[in-house]
Symmetry: C2
């Protein structure tokens, strides 16, 4: 289990303490959700192990689904840092660069939360329509999509995609495909990472080949 | 609310009665789920309105999610009948024929269940990993995908797709895209049918243009 990021050093003491308490709750929640499952974990048991009251946990995160979403946010923050460092230079072909983008998303996701928990997150992102959860989840997705757009632009600049490649269109469709392969991968206990990679690569080839040099 | 299909005439009396009872339960469930929402509807209230015991309902459908899934199955049976009648002759362009395929899926889905209920179905299809629900749901999806494959073959035979168009590959990727646009449409109360159509058509164009005559 990766450690949760520590707060920046220049913060006031109270603010630091608050963030440290929140991080502790997140660490306990991550452990408990993974070990006991989402449904069987209570807010009370998390508060207990973190040495706080259930009321504090509710105050910080609103609800159990709020806690789950805070973990997703944490996971996505790390992910975005990794994707920003993704160089388009490593791959001869556009398809390979895009496949690596998807692989980083899968790797990061499964390092941080179990497949079972991701299924809860994905289900909540569909059902919790009107809530803050969905809005924030969509924002994270848009941020990921933007990173994919940057990658495609870089691939075009270096000539691995043709000048007439419709970047905005490619970004949206490829992101849709990446996303559905992610859901497929998370929804099944039997699909291995390598298989998920092959599936998405086939989609990406079909879309990108016409614009590849 | 469309009426539920009646049993074939050559069946024995007992079997007919059983199917009629099941259909009555499904009609009541469809109405109650749509009006009261899935969470607030109890098996007991459905049994009550259908004039049966809750035990009968459990015996026929297993659980509330089983009942929801039986409605999806009913909806998909109608859908498959419509898709089998879908002629590839009506459209000049492959993209238009594929877009109509998606439109029929949307129309059928929303005629039969509300968007809110579809969100429950989609969430359950992700979370209920090991259950019969997921297996059956996947089978229905495969059947839909097969219909899309037939359509693409017909489009190739009539020359609207080039002879080198990789039908199996196109079928899988286009079905993935259709599916994620379906989830996007159902997940949002604000996306209109016409917008969903535009979104999927853009995906389909990107994929099909390279193989269109």
């Amino acid at each position: 289990m990766p450690a949760i990021a520590s707060p920046p050093p220049k913060m006031g003491l109270r603010q630091r303490q608050k963030i440290e308490r929140q991080n502790l709750i997140l660490e306990v929640a991550q452990k408990r959700f993974s070990e006991m499952g989402y449904v069987d974990t209570t807010i009370e048991s998390i508060a207990d192990e973190a040495g706080m009251s259930a009321v504090s946990v509710f105050n910080y995160f609103g609800s159990k689904v709020g806690l789950l979403f805070a973990l997703v946010k944490e996971s996505d923050t790390r992910l975005l840092a990794k994707l920003r460092n993704l160089s388009d230079e490593r791959h001869e072909e556009a398809v390979e660069a895009v496949a690596e983008f998807a692989r980083i998303i899968h790797d990061n996701a499964t390092t941080y939360l179990t497949k079972r928990l991701w299924r809860r997150v994905l289900a909540a992102s569909i059902v919790e329509q009107s809530s803050e959860f969905r809005t924030q989840y969509k924002d994270l997705d848009l941020e990921l999509q933007k990173q994919l757009g940057h990658l495609l632009v870089a691939l075009q600049h270096s000539g691995r995609l043709t000048p007439d490649a419709p970047i905005a269109r490619l970004t949206e469709t490829l992101f849709m495909l990446q996303n559905s392969r992610f859901v497929q991968y998370m929804s099944s206990d039997t699909i291995l990472e390598a298989e998920a990679d092959v599936l998405f690569r086939a989609d990406a080839s079909l879309v990108l080949e016409q614009f590849s040099n």
